[in-house]
Amino acid sequence: MATPFNIATAAYGNASRLATQALRPEAESAIAGVASGPNFAQMLAQSVQSITETSRAADPTAIATLNDAASRMISQAAQPGAQLGTSTGQPGGDFAQMLAQSVQGVVDGGRQADQMAIDLVNGKANVVDMVTALSQTEFAIESIVTIRDRVIQSYESIMSMPI
């Protein structure tokens, strides 16, 4: 179903993928500057691809498949964070865990809001409940996207540092 929330979830799936991509170099190796060069290029390529994917998602079937893919990506994205959280020695593990938790929170909230929108269409839910659930999900997505932007921005400033 081509609800605005589905499109937002699809866009958000790409966002969370980018955020985990941005985290991975830090978690995988302590010498982030050496190992993450290609990863960053890959990340950029993926972001370009995600933009084209999102813009291509005009027809409902594409949105549905993209939505599925996005939810799968989000659940995948939540896993490394949980694994990182157990290994306390790794730098950035706490942040990854926090991110994974907030991603999971957004996903749960989003599912609830989506269900509520469907219920509303079927005449079972209340407009007020639907609007508050959607607005909370929207805010959660907005905040996590802003955090992702900040992480990428910090990463870029580190990468552009002359050695």
Binding site: V128, T132, S135, Q136, T146, I147
Partner: protein
Amino acid sequence: MDFNTSIGIAATGLHAQSARMRIIAENIANADSTATTPGGDPYRRRVPTFETVMNQELGGRVVTMGKLAFDQSDFNSRYEPGHPAADENGYVQYPNVNTLIETMDMRQAQRSYEANLNVVSISRQMLGQTLDILRG
């Protein structure tokens, strides 16, 4: 988060006011509902009551619709001898609903609803403005 709590509390206010509108609608719709048997009681006006309830999940005091009360004032009687509900003197009991009072109640419900909506939108605005610091 406090802002989410205030949005939740305002949402219960919206619920309460919409329930109040439902009762006003009932009153106005039944303003002419008389009994069908001679000397019977017509529709009695309903009065909404509101209650404060502590909501543990939200962490705040929210409002809910209390028990439905009935307006105990006298019915209006009109002289209509041909009416099926007319008593032996030819008077028919009409509901104690005054459409002007209901209109004023409706206006009040509308204003309260608006006030709660403003709480929601200002809370959202404040949250957004806080987040804007990061975007700078």
